[in-house]
Amino acid sequence: VNGWPWRSITASVRGSSHDRSGLPNQDAVGDARAPNGALMAAVADGHGGRPYVRSQQGSALAVDLALEHLMAAGIQPGSAASNPLFSTAARVSWTWRATVLSDWAAHGFSPAERDRAGVDLEQDPVLAYGTTLILALCLDDVIHLAQIGDGDVIVISADGQVTTPVPGDDRLVAGETTSLCAASAVDDFRFCTLSRFAGPVGSEPAVLLLATDGYGAAFADRDWHEGVGRDLLAAVNEHGLETLATHLPQWLAESARVGGDDTSAVLITALPPAPPPR
Protein backbone atom coordinates (compact mmCIF):
# COMPACT_ATOMS: atom_id res chain seq x y z
CA VAL A 1 0.00 0.00 0.00
CA ASN A 2 1.45 3.34 -1.03
CA GLY A 3 1.18 6.68 0.72
CA TRP A 4 -1.47 9.37 0.38
CA PRO A 5 -2.93 10.93 -1.81
CA TRP A 6 -2.99 8.21 -4.51
CA ARG A 7 -2.65 4.77 -2.99
CA SER A 8 -3.01 1.35 -4.49
CA ILE A 9 -3.30 -2.34 -3.72
CA THR A 10 -2.71 -5.24 -6.10
CA ALA A 11 -3.48 -8.95 -6.30
CA SER A 12 -3.17 -11.76 -8.83
CA VAL A 13 -4.69 -15.24 -8.67
CA ARG A 14 -4.21 -18.28 -10.90
CA GLY A 15 -7.36 -19.41 -12.73
CA SER A 16 -9.05 -22.67 -11.83
CA SER A 17 -8.61 -23.98 -15.40
CA HIS A 18 -4.86 -23.40 -15.04
CA ASP A 19 -4.89 -25.18 -11.69
CA ARG A 20 -6.24 -28.25 -13.45
CA SER A 21 -4.09 -28.05 -16.57
CA GLY A 22 -0.90 -27.24 -14.69
CA LEU A 23 -0.36 -23.93 -16.46
CA PRO A 24 1.12 -21.16 -14.32
CA ASN A 25 -0.54 -17.85 -13.56
CA GLN A 26 0.21 -15.95 -16.77
CA ASP A 27 -0.93 -12.57 -15.41
CA ALA A 28 1.33 -9.97 -13.84
CA VAL A 29 0.57 -6.86 -11.85
CA GLY A 30 2.58 -4.10 -10.21
CA ASP A 31 2.55 -0.59 -8.81
CA ALA A 32 5.15 2.00 -7.83
CA ARG A 33 5.46 5.57 -6.65
CA ALA A 34 7.74 8.25 -8.06
CA PRO A 35 9.63 10.57 -5.70
CA ASN A 36 7.23 13.39 -6.62
CA GLY A 37 4.25 11.35 -5.40
CA ALA A 38 3.00 10.18 -8.80
CA LEU A 39 1.47 6.73 -8.62
CA MET A 40 1.90 4.28 -11.46
CA ALA A 41 0.36 0.86 -12.00
CA ALA A 42 0.31 -1.84 -14.65
CA VAL A 43 -1.54 -5.11 -15.17
CA ALA A 44 -0.84 -7.62 -17.92
CA ASP A 45 -2.53 -10.81 -19.11
CA GLY A 46 -0.21 -13.30 -20.81
CA HIS A 47 -2.12 -15.13 -23.53
CA GLY A 48 -3.38 -18.59 -22.64
CA GLY A 49 -3.40 -20.28 -26.06
CA ARG A 50 -1.02 -23.03 -27.04
CA PRO A 51 1.57 -20.96 -28.97
CA TYR A 52 2.12 -18.57 -26.07
CA VAL A 53 4.46 -20.84 -24.15
CA ARG A 54 6.33 -17.98 -22.45
CA SER A 55 3.45 -15.60 -21.88
CA GLN A 56 3.97 -15.53 -18.12
CA GLN A 57 7.46 -14.14 -18.81
CA GLY A 58 5.99 -11.74 -21.36
CA SER A 59 3.43 -10.35 -18.92
CA ALA A 60 5.95 -10.00 -16.08
CA LEU A 61 8.36 -8.22 -18.41
CA ALA A 62 5.60 -5.93 -19.67
CA VAL A 63 4.72 -4.84 -16.14
CA ASP A 64 8.38 -4.30 -15.18
CA LEU A 65 9.07 -2.23 -18.29
CA ALA A 66 5.84 -0.32 -17.92
CA LEU A 67 6.66 0.72 -14.35
CA GLU A 68 10.20 1.65 -15.39
CA HIS A 69 9.03 3.87 -18.25
CA LEU A 70 6.09 5.23 -16.27
CA MET A 71 8.55 6.29 -13.59
CA ALA A 72 10.39 8.36 -16.17
CA ALA A 73 7.11 9.85 -17.38
CA GLY A 74 5.78 10.39 -13.86
CA ILE A 75 8.62 12.63 -12.73
CA GLN A 76 8.09 15.02 -15.64
CA PRO A 77 5.76 18.01 -15.09
CA GLY A 78 2.26 16.75 -15.96
CA SER A 79 -0.32 18.27 -18.26
CA ALA A 80 -3.89 17.32 -19.02
CA ALA A 81 -3.36 18.56 -22.56
CA SER A 82 -0.89 15.88 -23.56
CA ASN A 83 -0.83 12.25 -22.55
CA PRO A 84 2.76 11.24 -21.84
CA LEU A 85 1.69 7.63 -22.23
CA PHE A 86 1.69 8.03 -26.04
CA SER A 87 5.47 7.93 -25.93
CA THR A 88 5.60 5.63 -22.89
CA ALA A 89 3.49 2.99 -24.63
CA ALA A 90 5.73 3.13 -27.69
CA ARG A 91 8.87 2.80 -25.57
CA VAL A 92 7.39 -0.11 -23.63
CA SER A 93 6.45 -1.83 -26.91
CA TRP A 94 9.90 -1.41 -28.43
CA THR A 95 11.87 -2.40 -25.34
CA TRP A 96 9.52 -5.32 -24.66
CA ARG A 97 10.06 -6.66 -28.19
CA ALA A 98 13.82 -6.19 -28.02
CA THR A 99 14.02 -7.85 -24.60
CA VAL A 100 12.01 -10.92 -25.54
CA LEU A 101 14.10 -11.37 -28.68
CA SER A 102 17.23 -11.21 -26.52
CA ASP A 103 15.72 -13.73 -24.13
CA TRP A 104 14.88 -16.07 -27.02
CA ALA A 105 18.41 -15.67 -28.46
CA ALA A 106 19.89 -16.59 -25.09
CA HIS A 107 17.36 -19.32 -24.27
CA GLY A 108 16.02 -21.04 -27.37
CA PHE A 109 12.75 -22.91 -27.19
CA SER A 110 12.94 -26.30 -25.53
CA PRO A 111 11.51 -29.43 -27.17
CA ALA A 112 8.71 -29.36 -24.60
CA GLU A 113 7.84 -25.77 -25.51
CA ARG A 114 7.89 -26.55 -29.23
CA ASP A 115 5.70 -29.58 -28.65
CA ARG A 116 3.20 -27.65 -26.59
CA ALA A 117 3.05 -24.72 -29.03
CA GLY A 118 1.92 -26.80 -31.99
CA VAL A 119 3.30 -24.16 -34.39
CA ASP A 120 6.79 -23.29 -35.62
CA LEU A 121 7.77 -20.81 -32.90
CA GLU A 122 11.06 -19.96 -34.62
CA GLN A 123 9.07 -18.22 -37.38
CA ASP A 124 7.92 -15.57 -34.91
CA PRO A 125 9.48 -16.10 -31.48
CA VAL A 126 7.89 -12.92 -30.07
CA LEU A 127 4.52 -14.66 -30.32
CA ALA A 128 5.45 -17.02 -27.49
CA TYR A 129 5.61 -14.12 -25.03
CA GLY A 130 2.28 -12.50 -26.06
CA THR A 131 0.50 -10.36 -23.51
CA THR A 132 -1.95 -7.52 -23.04
CA LEU A 133 -1.08 -4.46 -20.93
CA ILE A 134 -2.95 -1.73 -19.07
CA LEU A 135 -1.06 1.29 -17.71
CA ALA A 136 -2.11 4.04 -15.32
CA LEU A 137 -0.21 7.15 -14.32
CA CYS A 138 -1.92 9.08 -11.53
CA LEU A 139 -0.61 12.62 -11.02
CA ASP A 140 -1.83 15.39 -8.73
CA ASP A 141 -4.34 16.82 -11.15
CA VAL A 142 -4.61 14.31 -13.95
CA ILE A 143 -4.80 10.57 -14.64
CA HIS A 144 -3.36 9.08 -17.82
CA LEU A 145 -4.41 5.63 -19.00
CA ALA A 146 -3.26 3.39 -21.83
CA GLN A 147 -4.36 -0.10 -22.83
CA ILE A 148 -3.51 -2.71 -25.42
CA GLY A 149 -5.70 -5.78 -25.61
CA ASP A 150 -8.60 -6.86 -23.43
CA GLY A 151 -9.19 -6.23 -19.75
CA ASP A 152 -11.08 -3.51 -17.95
CA VAL A 153 -10.51 -0.05 -16.55
CA ILE A 154 -13.29 1.29 -14.32
CA VAL A 155 -13.26 4.79 -12.88
CA ILE A 156 -15.62 5.77 -10.07
CA SER A 157 -16.12 9.41 -9.18
CA ALA A 158 -16.49 10.59 -5.59
CA ASP A 159 -20.23 10.97 -6.12
CA GLY A 160 -20.59 7.43 -7.49
CA GLN A 161 -20.60 7.83 -11.26
CA VAL A 162 -19.07 4.75 -12.89
CA THR A 163 -17.33 5.05 -16.26
CA THR A 164 -15.10 2.93 -18.49
CA PRO A 165 -13.12 5.76 -20.07
CA VAL A 166 -10.59 3.92 -22.24
CA PRO A 167 -11.93 3.71 -25.82
CA GLY A 168 -13.11 0.29 -26.94
CA ASP A 169 -11.67 -1.73 -29.78
CA ASP A 170 -13.98 -3.53 -32.23
CA ARG A 171 -11.34 -6.18 -32.78
CA LEU A 172 -11.68 -7.54 -29.26
CA VAL A 173 -14.34 -10.14 -30.02
CA ALA A 174 -14.61 -13.91 -29.75
CA GLY A 175 -11.59 -14.18 -27.49
CA GLU A 176 -9.38 -12.24 -29.89
CA THR A 177 -7.15 -9.55 -28.50
CA THR A 178 -4.55 -7.08 -29.63
CA SER A 179 -1.18 -7.78 -28.07
CA LEU A 180 2.32 -6.54 -27.43
CA CYS A 181 3.51 -9.46 -29.56
CA ALA A 182 1.91 -8.01 -32.71
CA ALA A 183 3.97 -5.93 -35.10
CA SER A 184 1.25 -3.27 -34.87
CA ALA A 185 1.48 -3.03 -31.06
CA VAL A 186 2.47 0.64 -30.92
CA ASP A 187 -0.57 1.59 -32.99
CA ASP A 188 -2.90 -0.75 -31.11
CA PHE A 189 -2.75 1.11 -27.78
CA ARG A 190 -5.84 3.09 -26.76
CA PHE A 191 -5.48 6.13 -24.52
CA CYS A 192 -7.39 8.50 -22.33
CA THR A 193 -6.66 11.34 -19.94
CA LEU A 194 -8.91 12.31 -17.04
CA SER A 195 -8.66 15.71 -15.46
CA ARG A 196 -9.03 15.34 -11.75
CA PHE A 197 -10.57 18.66 -10.77
CA ALA A 198 -11.97 20.10 -14.00
CA GLY A 199 -15.61 19.19 -13.27
CA PRO A 200 -17.99 20.04 -10.45
CA VAL A 201 -17.22 18.93 -6.91
CA GLY A 202 -17.97 15.23 -6.57
CA SER A 203 -17.19 14.38 -10.18
CA GLU A 204 -13.49 13.91 -9.52
CA PRO A 205 -12.16 10.37 -10.04
CA ALA A 206 -11.91 8.77 -6.63
CA VAL A 207 -11.41 5.05 -7.27
CA LEU A 208 -9.90 3.21 -10.26
CA LEU A 209 -9.90 -0.51 -10.97
CA LEU A 210 -7.55 -1.98 -13.57
CA ALA A 211 -8.24 -5.67 -14.17
CA THR A 212 -7.39 -8.49 -16.55
CA ASP A 213 -10.35 -9.94 -18.47
CA GLY A 214 -10.62 -12.89 -16.12
CA TYR A 215 -12.25 -10.60 -13.59
CA GLY A 216 -15.10 -9.35 -15.78
CA ALA A 217 -15.61 -12.66 -17.57
CA ALA A 218 -16.68 -14.30 -14.33
CA PHE A 219 -19.72 -12.04 -13.93
CA ALA A 220 -23.00 -13.39 -15.31
CA ASP A 221 -24.19 -9.89 -16.20
CA ARG A 222 -22.44 -8.28 -19.17
CA ASP A 223 -23.06 -4.85 -17.57
CA TRP A 224 -21.21 -5.72 -14.42
CA HIS A 225 -19.14 -2.53 -14.25
CA GLU A 226 -21.81 -0.36 -12.66
CA GLY A 227 -22.46 -2.64 -9.70
CA VAL A 228 -18.79 -3.35 -9.09
CA GLY A 229 -17.95 0.35 -9.23
CA ARG A 230 -20.71 1.28 -6.82
CA ASP A 231 -19.73 -1.47 -4.37
CA LEU A 232 -16.02 -0.63 -4.57
CA LEU A 233 -16.64 3.01 -3.77
CA ALA A 234 -18.77 2.06 -0.78
CA ALA A 235 -16.15 -0.43 0.42
CA VAL A 236 -13.28 2.05 0.12
CA ASN A 237 -15.30 4.75 1.89
CA GLU A 238 -16.43 2.46 4.67
CA HIS A 239 -13.38 0.30 5.27
CA GLY A 240 -10.47 2.14 3.66
CA LEU A 241 -8.14 0.81 1.00
CA GLU A 242 -5.75 -0.61 3.57
CA THR A 243 -8.41 -2.97 4.94
CA LEU A 244 -9.35 -4.08 1.43
CA ALA A 245 -5.79 -5.27 0.82
CA THR A 246 -6.65 -8.48 2.64
CA HIS A 247 -9.94 -8.88 0.75
CA LEU A 248 -8.88 -8.17 -2.83
CA PRO A 249 -7.08 -11.53 -3.25
CA GLN A 250 -10.18 -13.35 -1.98
CA TRP A 251 -12.47 -11.50 -4.37
CA LEU A 252 -10.18 -12.28 -7.28
CA ALA A 253 -9.88 -15.91 -6.18
CA GLU A 254 -13.64 -16.27 -6.38
CA SER A 255 -13.68 -14.87 -9.93
CA ALA A 256 -10.73 -17.10 -10.90
CA ARG A 257 -12.49 -20.17 -9.49
CA VAL A 258 -15.84 -19.57 -11.19
CA GLY A 259 -14.63 -18.08 -14.49
CA GLY A 260 -11.54 -20.27 -14.76
CA ASP A 261 -9.14 -17.59 -16.00
CA ASP A 262 -6.18 -15.97 -14.25
CA THR A 263 -7.45 -12.84 -12.56
CA SER A 264 -5.45 -9.78 -11.54
CA ALA A 265 -6.28 -6.25 -10.51
CA VAL A 266 -4.98 -2.97 -9.20
CA LEU A 267 -7.28 -0.90 -7.02
CA ILE A 268 -6.31 2.76 -6.78
CA THR A 269 -7.86 5.52 -4.72
CA ALA A 270 -7.31 9.10 -3.68
CA LEU A 271 -9.93 8.91 -0.95
CA PRO A 272 -8.51 9.41 2.52
CA PRO A 273 -8.04 6.40 4.76
CA ALA A 274 -11.17 5.34 6.60
CA PRO A 275 -11.47 6.77 10.12
CA PRO A 276 -10.68 4.30 12.89
CA PRO A 277 -13.76 2.57 14.33
CA ARG A 278 -15.09 4.14 17.52
Partner: protein, 226 residues
Protein backbone atom coordinates in the same frame (compact mmCIF):
# COMPACT_ATOMS: atom_id res chain seq x y z
CA UNK B 1 -15.68 -9.58 6.25
CA UNK B 2 -16.15 -7.11 3.39
CA UNK B 3 -18.55 -8.44 0.77
CA UNK B 4 -17.28 -9.09 -2.72
CA UNK B 5 -18.22 -6.20 -5.03
CA UNK B 6 -20.58 -6.79 -7.91
CA UNK B 7 -23.35 -9.22 -8.66
CA UNK B 8 -23.62 -12.91 -9.39
CA UNK B 9 -20.68 -14.88 -10.79
CA UNK B 10 -21.37 -17.65 -13.29
CA UNK B 11 -19.60 -20.34 -15.28
CA UNK B 12 -18.73 -19.40 -18.86
CA UNK B 13 -21.06 -20.69 -21.57
CA UNK B 14 -19.63 -23.35 -23.90
CA UNK B 15 -22.04 -23.72 -26.81
CA UNK B 16 -21.93 -27.23 -28.26
CA UNK B 17 -23.55 -27.66 -31.69
CA UNK B 18 -24.39 -31.03 -33.25
CA UNK B 19 -24.91 -30.66 -37.02
CA UNK B 20 -26.56 -33.88 -38.11
CA UNK B 21 -27.15 -35.18 -41.64
CA UNK B 22 -30.76 -36.40 -41.87
CA UNK B 23 -30.87 -36.92 -45.64
CA UNK B 24 -32.62 -39.85 -47.26
CA UNK B 25 -29.45 -41.91 -47.48
CA UNK B 26 -29.28 -41.90 -43.68
CA UNK B 27 -32.46 -43.98 -43.68
CA UNK B 28 -30.59 -46.87 -45.31
CA UNK B 29 -28.88 -49.63 -43.35
CA UNK B 30 -30.07 -48.31 -40.00
CA UNK B 31 -27.75 -45.31 -40.08
CA UNK B 32 -30.14 -42.75 -38.64
CA UNK B 33 -31.13 -45.13 -35.87
CA UNK B 34 -27.47 -45.73 -35.12
CA UNK B 35 -26.95 -41.95 -35.09
CA UNK B 36 -29.81 -41.52 -32.63
CA UNK B 37 -28.41 -44.25 -30.41
CA UNK B 38 -24.92 -42.78 -30.60
CA UNK B 39 -26.06 -39.26 -29.69
CA UNK B 40 -28.34 -40.54 -26.95
CA UNK B 41 -25.36 -42.37 -25.49
CA UNK B 42 -22.79 -39.64 -26.11
CA UNK B 43 -24.45 -36.47 -24.89
CA UNK B 44 -24.59 -37.56 -21.23
CA UNK B 45 -20.81 -38.04 -21.37
CA UNK B 46 -20.44 -34.34 -22.12
CA UNK B 47 -21.59 -33.70 -18.58
CA UNK B 48 -18.35 -35.39 -17.51
CA UNK B 49 -16.50 -32.69 -19.43
CA UNK B 50 -18.57 -30.11 -17.60
CA UNK B 51 -17.69 -31.74 -14.28
CA UNK B 52 -13.99 -31.71 -15.16
CA UNK B 53 -14.22 -28.07 -16.24
CA UNK B 54 -16.33 -26.40 -13.60
CA UNK B 55 -15.72 -22.99 -15.19
CA UNK B 56 -17.61 -24.11 -18.32
CA UNK B 57 -21.35 -24.56 -18.67
CA UNK B 58 -21.93 -26.85 -21.65
CA UNK B 59 -25.05 -25.83 -23.57
CA UNK B 60 -26.22 -28.20 -26.31
CA UNK B 61 -28.04 -27.39 -29.57
CA UNK B 62 -28.80 -29.70 -32.47
CA UNK B 63 -29.18 -28.77 -36.15
CA UNK B 64 -30.67 -31.27 -38.60
CA UNK B 65 -30.24 -30.89 -42.34
CA UNK B 66 -31.91 -32.73 -45.20
CA UNK B 67 -34.03 -30.76 -47.71
CA UNK B 68 -33.28 -27.47 -46.03
CA UNK B 69 -32.33 -27.35 -42.38
CA UNK B 70 -34.05 -26.94 -39.03
CA UNK B 71 -33.20 -26.73 -35.37
CA UNK B 72 -33.89 -30.09 -33.78
CA UNK B 73 -32.93 -28.66 -30.38
CA UNK B 74 -33.12 -24.91 -30.71
CA UNK B 75 -32.68 -23.60 -27.19
CA UNK B 76 -29.21 -23.74 -25.64
CA UNK B 77 -29.85 -26.56 -23.18
CA UNK B 78 -27.61 -27.45 -20.25
CA UNK B 79 -26.12 -30.83 -21.08
CA UNK B 80 -27.52 -32.52 -18.00
CA UNK B 81 -31.05 -31.48 -19.07
CA UNK B 82 -30.92 -32.77 -22.65
CA UNK B 83 -33.56 -35.41 -23.37
CA UNK B 84 -32.77 -36.91 -26.75
CA UNK B 85 -35.59 -37.03 -29.29
CA UNK B 86 -34.98 -39.15 -32.35
CA UNK B 87 -34.03 -37.64 -35.68
CA UNK B 88 -35.69 -38.96 -38.83
CA UNK B 89 -34.19 -39.16 -42.32
CA UNK B 90 -35.49 -38.09 -45.74
CA UNK B 91 -34.64 -35.68 -48.53
CA UNK B 92 -31.46 -34.03 -49.76
CA UNK B 93 -28.21 -33.11 -48.03
CA UNK B 94 -28.44 -29.33 -47.68
CA UNK B 95 -25.44 -28.71 -45.43
CA UNK B 96 -25.20 -25.13 -46.67
CA UNK B 97 -28.70 -24.45 -45.32
CA UNK B 98 -27.63 -25.74 -41.92
CA UNK B 99 -24.52 -23.58 -41.82
CA UNK B 100 -26.58 -20.53 -42.79
CA UNK B 101 -28.95 -21.27 -39.94
CA UNK B 102 -26.00 -21.47 -37.57
CA UNK B 103 -24.35 -18.18 -38.56
CA UNK B 104 -26.69 -15.76 -36.73
CA UNK B 105 -26.24 -17.77 -33.56
CA UNK B 106 -22.51 -17.03 -33.63
CA UNK B 107 -22.92 -13.27 -33.55
CA UNK B 108 -22.76 -11.20 -30.39
CA UNK B 109 -25.51 -11.02 -29.30
CA UNK B 110 -26.82 -13.71 -28.93
CA UNK B 111 -23.31 -15.10 -28.26
CA UNK B 112 -22.06 -13.78 -24.96
CA UNK B 113 -18.75 -11.91 -25.02
CA UNK B 114 -17.65 -14.02 -22.05
CA UNK B 115 -18.43 -17.31 -23.78
CA UNK B 116 -15.79 -19.93 -24.43
CA UNK B 117 -15.20 -20.81 -28.10
CA UNK B 118 -18.10 -22.86 -29.45
CA UNK B 119 -17.67 -26.54 -30.23
CA UNK B 120 -19.24 -28.06 -33.37
CA UNK B 121 -19.53 -31.64 -34.50
CA UNK B 122 -20.68 -32.31 -38.07
CA UNK B 123 -21.93 -35.82 -38.83
CA UNK B 124 -22.67 -36.81 -42.43
CA UNK B 125 -22.82 -39.85 -44.70
CA UNK B 126 -22.79 -38.19 -48.10
CA UNK B 127 -22.12 -35.25 -50.35
CA UNK B 128 -23.83 -31.88 -49.88
CA UNK B 129 -26.52 -31.10 -52.42
CA UNK B 130 -26.42 -27.32 -52.02
CA UNK B 131 -23.74 -24.63 -52.08
CA UNK B 132 -22.18 -25.37 -48.71
CA UNK B 133 -18.84 -23.75 -49.61
CA UNK B 134 -20.15 -20.20 -49.66
CA UNK B 135 -22.09 -20.87 -46.45
CA UNK B 136 -18.93 -22.22 -44.81
CA UNK B 137 -17.08 -19.12 -45.98
CA UNK B 138 -19.71 -16.91 -44.34
CA UNK B 139 -19.52 -18.95 -41.16
CA UNK B 140 -15.74 -18.55 -41.06
CA UNK B 141 -16.13 -14.79 -41.59
CA UNK B 142 -17.74 -14.65 -38.16
CA UNK B 143 -15.13 -14.35 -35.39
CA UNK B 144 -16.84 -17.01 -33.28
CA UNK B 145 -17.05 -19.21 -36.39
CA UNK B 146 -13.31 -18.87 -36.95
CA UNK B 147 -12.55 -19.72 -33.35
CA UNK B 148 -15.02 -22.56 -33.04
CA UNK B 149 -13.54 -25.99 -32.48
CA UNK B 150 -14.90 -27.90 -35.48
CA UNK B 151 -14.88 -31.68 -35.66
CA UNK B 152 -16.39 -33.98 -38.30
CA UNK B 153 -17.52 -37.60 -38.38
CA UNK B 154 -18.07 -39.41 -41.68
CA UNK B 155 -20.54 -42.28 -41.77
CA UNK B 156 -19.75 -45.04 -44.23
CA UNK B 157 -17.61 -45.05 -47.33
CA UNK B 158 -19.69 -42.51 -49.26
CA UNK B 159 -19.05 -39.68 -46.83
CA UNK B 160 -17.50 -36.66 -48.57
CA UNK B 161 -14.10 -36.60 -46.88
CA UNK B 162 -12.97 -33.42 -48.60
CA UNK B 163 -16.09 -31.60 -47.39
CA UNK B 164 -15.56 -32.91 -43.85
CA UNK B 165 -11.92 -31.80 -43.95
CA UNK B 166 -12.90 -28.39 -45.27
CA UNK B 167 -15.37 -27.99 -42.42
CA UNK B 168 -12.69 -28.84 -39.84
CA UNK B 169 -10.18 -26.42 -41.33
CA UNK B 170 -6.51 -26.42 -40.38
CA UNK B 171 -6.86 -27.99 -36.97
CA UNK B 172 -4.13 -30.52 -37.71
CA UNK B 173 -6.66 -33.32 -37.32
CA UNK B 174 -8.48 -35.33 -39.95
CA UNK B 175 -12.18 -36.25 -39.92
CA UNK B 176 -12.93 -39.56 -38.27
CA UNK B 177 -14.92 -42.32 -39.94
CA UNK B 178 -17.42 -44.83 -38.70
CA UNK B 179 -18.40 -47.91 -40.65
CA UNK B 180 -20.66 -49.61 -38.13
CA UNK B 181 -22.84 -48.59 -35.18
CA UNK B 182 -20.17 -49.35 -32.57
CA UNK B 183 -17.65 -47.16 -34.34
CA UNK B 184 -20.22 -44.42 -34.69
CA UNK B 185 -20.72 -44.29 -30.93
CA UNK B 186 -16.98 -44.30 -30.43
CA UNK B 187 -16.24 -41.62 -33.03
CA UNK B 188 -19.03 -39.25 -32.05
CA UNK B 189 -18.04 -39.63 -28.44
CA UNK B 190 -14.40 -38.93 -29.21
CA UNK B 191 -15.13 -35.99 -31.49
CA UNK B 192 -17.57 -34.46 -29.03
CA UNK B 193 -15.30 -34.91 -26.06
CA UNK B 194 -12.29 -33.58 -27.90
CA UNK B 195 -14.14 -30.52 -29.20
CA UNK B 196 -15.48 -29.71 -25.76
CA UNK B 197 -12.12 -30.17 -24.10
CA UNK B 198 -10.31 -27.97 -26.60
CA UNK B 199 -13.02 -25.33 -26.42
CA UNK B 200 -12.67 -25.23 -22.66
CA UNK B 201 -8.89 -24.82 -23.06
CA UNK B 202 -7.94 -28.09 -21.46
CA UNK B 203 -6.66 -30.06 -24.44
CA UNK B 204 -3.04 -28.97 -24.63
CA UNK B 205 -2.16 -31.30 -27.48
CA UNK B 206 -4.10 -33.03 -30.24
CA UNK B 207 -4.11 -36.81 -30.24
CA UNK B 208 -1.34 -38.39 -32.26
CA UNK B 209 -1.62 -41.16 -34.81
CA UNK B 210 -1.48 -43.73 -32.05
CA UNK B 211 -4.20 -41.91 -30.11
CA UNK B 212 -7.77 -42.92 -29.61
CA UNK B 213 -8.84 -42.29 -33.19
CA UNK B 214 -6.38 -44.66 -34.82
CA UNK B 215 -6.87 -47.18 -32.03
CA UNK B 216 -10.60 -47.34 -32.54
CA UNK B 217 -10.64 -47.66 -36.31
CA UNK B 218 -11.05 -51.13 -37.79
CA UNK B 219 -8.15 -51.16 -40.20
CA UNK B 220 -9.04 -54.36 -42.00
CA UNK B 221 -12.65 -53.35 -42.60
CA UNK B 222 -14.00 -56.39 -40.74
CA UNK B 223 -17.28 -55.62 -39.08
CA UNK B 224 -18.00 -52.72 -41.41
CA UNK B 225 -21.67 -52.26 -42.13
CA UNK B 226 -21.64 -48.93 -43.99
Amino acid sequence: MVERPGSVLARRPLHFFVIADCSGSMAADGKVQALNNALRETIPHLSEIAEQNPHAEVLVRVLAFSTGARWHLAAPTPVEQVVWEDLTASGYTDLGAALRLLIPELRSPPMQERALPPAMVLISDGMPTDDYRSALGLLLDEPWGQHAVRMAVGIGRDADQSMLSRFMGSSGLAPVSANNPEQLVSMIRWASTHASRVASHLAVAPPGRSGPVAGRQSEDGQGDVW
